[in-house]
Symmetry: C2
Subunit: 422 residues, 2 copies
């Protein structure tokens, strides 16, 4: 069953909003065994929306629209669906009453534009929305089922999870799953990972049983091994085994477990705790750590020592060192890590210092970064030079810090073995 997504809104085209709905839906539908074959983003204009919907309806078995259902004049999705279906819009009296009650309860005035949220193309069915005022709808158009949901991410996700997905699965029957394994690597680039897997790729190209795909994210590369037909678990397992041999300790996890989740799990398993001291990452390392549910068992807290004197007054970094070398120095990272470990009584203390840009600092170039991990066995530091803009340098610094911590906890060498770095 081919599913196409259509995202509606000028704000998506002009880049005011990132289309996270598409990736979230992609994940939800893929996890359920459905196949997303395309995503179209279109503006608020009725003509373009009708045209894009028509193409999607002709091409796919199911079309899922997000956005354009609200109470403002640029919300035209209902009208567009009615046109593509070749039917009229009718006002649904039950929804109208529900809207009137809802607006009254929240002391708001329901205007004509608000009332359009009760309109439904003839032959369609309302999808109730218990998180907002705009209901969704579904209708069959020339053998293709069309769903429209609000664009507000949490309303969309609830409506799809509770109503759209069960309906889609009922229609598609249970899709035959293909075997898949995903190896997650860190510390080496996509090209290097692909190069190491060339022998495996060559064998797989000959057998045709397993596909290899690479997915690069900042500092990480995922390797996805998927059987080309239903089943194929044994072939995928054999390929994964070979990939492990070829990639060594660059593989930090399988499946959906992120690097920060692995680090949190390693800490919790050992009854160990973490404290962080941040300079250039400015809180991003801590904010990344706390995305893991349950991490409060292992995370003590952090200090963002953004002003240089705070590094001394709170973390105890030597004032003479800072005066002589500035804040961007491996020894500063070391003393920050050791200082925060003592201050917050953590098993491990980690620290970041460096230049995120846009300007050089203390005579050090943008991208110079020093990372330290202090633990029961002592302190280690790495000093990468990282590429990119302010955001990217910070993101890569967080990945490198988590990776150094992972290697320290597991007793691995500080960096991947030479043969894996090319």
């Amino acid at each position: 069953m081919k599913v196409e997504l259509v995202a509606v809104g000028d704000e998506l085209l002009i880049g005011d909003v990132v289309n996270t709905n598409a990736s979230r839906l992609g994940r939800m539908l893929t996890d359920a065994g459905l196949r997303v074959t395309g995503v179209s983003t279109v503006g608020d204009g009725l003509g373009e929306l009708v045209e894009v919907l028509r193409i999607a309806v002709d091409r796919a078995d199911a079309v899922l629209i997000t956005g354009g259902l609200g109470p403002t004049s640029d919300d035209r999705t209902r009208e567009a669906v009615a046109r593509v279906a070749g039917v009229e819009l009718r006002r649904d009296p039950e929804v109208e009453q529900w809207l009137r009650d809802r607006y009254r309860d929240t002391n708001r005035t329901l205007t004509g534009l608000g009332l359009q949220q009760a309109d439904l193309p003839e032959g369609g069915r309302i999808l109730p929305n218990d998180r907002g005022s705009a209901p969704g709808l579904t209708i069959e158009v020339r053998g293709t089922v069309v769903y429209a949901t609000p664009g507000v991410p949490h309303e969309m996700a609830a409506m799809v999870g509770d109503q759209v997905l069960p309906d889609l699965l009922r229609r598609s029957g249970a899709p035959a799953p293909r075997a898949q394994r995903v190896l997650r690597t860190v510390g080496v680039g996509e090209g290097v990972v692909a190069q190491h897997l060339e022998p495996l790729e060559k064998d797989l190209a000959a057998s045709g049983a397993v596909e290899v795909a690479y997915l690069a994210e900042p500092g990480e590369t995922r390797v996805k091994l998927t059987s080309t037909g239903p089943g194929g678990g044994a072939e995928v397992d054999a390929a994964a085994l070979r990939a492990y041999e070829l990639l060594g300790d660059c593989v930090y996890a399988e499946g959906t477990e992120s690097l920060v989740a692995v680090v949190a799990r390693l800490l919790v398993e050992r009854g160990a705790t973490l404290a962080a001291a941040e300079s250039l990452t400015g809180g991003l390392l801590a904010a990344t750590v706390v995305t893991v549910p349950g991490v409060s068992a292992a995370f003590r807290g952090s200090v963002t020592a953004y002003a240089t004197d705070v590094k001394t007054s709170v973390l105890g970094v030597g004032a003479a060192l800072l005066a002589a070398e500035g804040a961007v120095h491996p020894q500063v990272a070391r003393e920050m890590a050791e200082g925060v470990r003592a201050l917050l009584s953590g098993t491990y203390g980690v620290a970041t210092t460096g230049v995120a840009g846009p300007e050089p600092q203390d005579g050090r170039p943008v991208g110079e970064v020093h990372i330290a991990v202090a633990g029961p066995e002592g302190t280690v530091t790495v000093s990468p030079h990282l590429p990119g803009d302010r955001d990217r340098i910070r993101t890569l610094t967080v990945v490198r810090t988590l990776e150094l911590l992972r290697r320290t906890i597991l007793g691995l060498p500080q960096e991947p073995a030479r043969e894996f770095t090319g």
Copy 2:
């Protein structure tokens, strides 16, 4: 000139990667006065890619493809462009030599798959890539100019900014700009903002000179006023004046200045500094503050007191208070804000505590949040109940904290006037 974007990659369809390229390009092209009329996302399969490209080429004056140019077997963009153009691929000897040098310099082996990066559709032109190994390309197809750039965001952005955009602007001539103003509001929902602007919308609907669009983001709503034709500055200015009257102090800025940038500017202008103490936001508040370039003049630093005892040992929150009330309490927020203000010698200290979920904490429900701002005039607190999941509650807490700080610095009431909250 209509520009369509085509993003290539299975990882986008299955939701492994969020399509930030589309929003970034949308912003770049819109800022340059060009009009993005659609975005299509398609997988790695050659057939679908050719079909989507064909439609985009027929519909638009320019098509910008991102992704599918790399050295792996699922990179098929060059081949698809050649098919749509009806020409053959030829290997470019200069690019081949450049690739051989580049791979040799970085001790990598250039294989057949790597060499496909030197292939170019006949009649096309290479777009050099100085940040990665995959060059881009451009070619005219039936009167539409097609560009292909790498999918790696920073490579894409550099190639578009340096090469694609200048070429596009040369082709389009200077587009006639339409007048536009964007009012940024915080603290009230999109529906409430729209409701307050109904009198303005009614007048504008009659005159037809200015369009109103709403853009909701977590905790914020932007109001975009755009003239319907070229020029129209006076009409937009008059509409903006009216909107200011109707929205009062909920408007915090105009144009592209974000809430955190406004707060940073207010601090710097006053020679004031900020210190933050975070519990449920776990570093996100500090990480948001440091996204503003130049904020180091005003930001002292922060303490993430994730473990309850750290609130006492580092920030000086009363141990008896924590024992009696738990960590989720307005008085805890107050003492955290005052504690971090003293610890880091800031003009203002801000603090967040609450329950981000997924589980209740200390007998308090998910979404209960307490925020405090301590300053020279004393300390204020607000205690909103925030909706959504863990991420959303944290994001909304950061927005509410920045808004309370903005109001405190400016001497405004703690919350928008009653008439604006509906």
